[in-house]
């Protein structure tokens, strides 16, 4: 590791000019794919992510059907050109793990008991990656599920807190991630502050962990506002169009 790199300068600014607890610029757009029942496009920093939801629909393969509730299936996929060296298409162990924890986090808020035997299929495609794609994917997927009109208790905003050169930093970008000493992706249910996704690797002291969690939860509430705003924009446009038709 090259410890000469200064992650935070004397003015408290990071390599890209952000403060330690500042998110990268973020943009969410709901309802971008005509075929999907719900969809969202999200950019955070240099990440570009598409999420689509199909369902509730018939569950395939059938042996996965649950007579008591719908199952949530997720496919997280990094497109070949989304990273520095071309990624071979198709699932690898990392993307399978991310798919699993993303589905679990979404299932925590979707009212799956309303759709026995059905499947809710969530697809996350990473078009361009720059650290933090699993969180960006889940944030976008939540908006897509809401856009699909599937009953849910709340959305799940997600963000990662990292540690680089001894500093706790919110929402690491690729450059910072290369020098990362710890990574703590999390997602919450904003209404209750319950945590529905949590991973961690690296090295954090007890105190650092508490601070990192606080930073993450605060940022999730910020992201939550942007998720709601995306839905509002989508449906106010839809409502306007409807009015025009009536007139």
């Amino acid at each position: 590791m090259d410890s000469d790199i200064v992650m935070v300068d004397d003015n408290g600014k990071r390599l890209d000019g952000r403060k330690a607890d500042e998110l990268r610029p973020m943009k969410i757009e709901a309802g971008v794919l005509p075929n999907a029942d719900g969809s969202a496009y999200l950019e955070i920093g240099k990440n570009k992510v598409l999420a689509a939801v199909y369902g509730p629909r018939e569950c395939h393969p059938r042996h996965l059907q649950n007579p008591a509730k719908a199952i949530v299936q997720c496919k997280y996929n990094m497109q070949s050109y989304s990273v520095g060296d071309r990624k071979r298409p198709g699932p690898d162990r990392r993307s399978q793990e991310i798919s699993k924890i993303t589905a679990e986090a979404l299932e925590a808020v979707i009212q799956v008991e309303l759709f026995p035997r059905a499947s809710i299929d969530v697809y996350i495609e990473i078009l361009q990656a720059n650290a933090g794609t699993r969180c960006a994917g889940l944030t976008a997927a939540s908006v897509a599920v809401a856009d699909a009109g599937i009953p849910m208790r709340d959305m799940v905003p997600s963000v990662a807190v990292g540690k680089a050169n001894g500093h706790l930093l919110l929402d690491l970008n690729k450059e910072e991630d290369n020098y990362g000493e710890a990574d703590l992706p999390l997602a919450i249910i904003p209404k209750t502050n319950e945590v529905v996704l949590l991973q961690m690797d690296g090295h954090l002291t007890r105190e650092e962990f508490d601070t990192a969690m606080k930073m993450g939860v605060t940022a999730c509430h910020e992201i939550y506002e942007m998720q709601k705003d995306a839905l509002r924009r989508r449906y106010s446009v839809a409502a306007d169009e409807e009015q025009e038709v009536e007139e």
Binding site: N35, S80, Y81, Y123, E125, L127, Q128
Partner: protein, 257 residues
């Protein structure tokens, strides 16, 4: 693929409209949908483009790396094309390794690029027999409403035209634009009853008996063709489609400049 079925009522509607010279989206039989091309949409790719044909959307990205040439072409760069029909794009698409449809699509697009000599592969040679540039072209269907052949081919052409070879990443001097020599354009026509249409939508693809994809270059010469589905064309129909492909090719070439 193709779990979908088109209802009898929709099939009849498409047929009846066409007999009157019209289509479900109010196009004339030989009209294209609105086409949009955006390039440079993926910063991590050496070249990229997003293309819409109506509601059909695809993204193509080029990644490059240095590798060893094939023994029979020691002084030529390597081109490979693959197509992913991801389940995001349509309810009929399933995840998994590329199926027959995806393979056919990738190969037809590849043929148009390769046979037209669009990419000057000889200038992608670094050391003959040892090191050449490898071009990995990946196409993802994002939303499928018919005619992936033309959308994918156009996305690839636009991505290649705007690509930079990442030489500086490999200590091979400065980055330089990917050398391209021409702009091949692909057009697909389909036959419904006895009418020819171009740029079929999903429903029209389901109803048509045959389709023909033709790639032409800037001189109006034919560089690649592919006939699909179980129906048949007359020789006159094929000749008409080739003329159409040349005509539409000129139209589309103007869009990407």
């Amino acid at each position: 693929m193709s779990k979908s079925v088109v209802s009898e009522i929709r099939r009849n509607h498409i047929n009846e409209l066409l007999r009157k010279g019209s289509r479900m989206d109010e196009r004339a039989p030989l009209d294209l949908r609105e086409i949009s091309v955006e390039t440079g949409v993926i910063d991590t790719a050496e070249g990229s483009a997003r293309v819409h044909y109506g509601q059909t959307e695809v993204i193509a990205g080029l990644k490059m790396a240095i590798g060893t040439p094939f023994p029979d072409t020691p002084n030529k760069g390597v081109l490979t094309t693959s197509m992913e029909l991801i389940p995001m794009a349509h309810p009929d698409f399933e995840s998994g390794p590329p199926g027959m449809d995806a393979i056919e699509l990738a190969r037809v697009v590849d043929r148009g690029i390769r046979e037209s000599g669009m990419v000057d592969v000889e200038s992608l040679c670094i050391t003959p027999g040892e090191a050449v540039w490898m071009c990995f072209i990946d196409i993802y269907a994002i939303n499928y409403d018919g005619n992936l052949f033309d959308a994918a081919a156009l996305a690839v052409v636009a991505a290649l035209k705007n690509a930079m070879v990442p030489a500086s990443n490999y200590d091979k001097g400065e980055d330089f634009p990917l050398p391209v020599t021409c702009v091949p354009i692909t057009m697909t026509a389909a036959k419904i009853e006895n009418t020819l249409i171009v740029d079929p939508t999903f429903d029209e693809e389901m109803v048509c008996s045959a389709r023909l994809t033709v790639t032409t270059d800037g001189n109006g010469d034919i560089r690649a063709m592919q006939k699909g589905k179980s129906g048949a064309f007359t020789v006159e129909e094929i000749s008409d489609i080739v003329d159409l492909a040349r005509e539409k090719g000129e139209e589309i070439r103007k869009i990407i400049g």
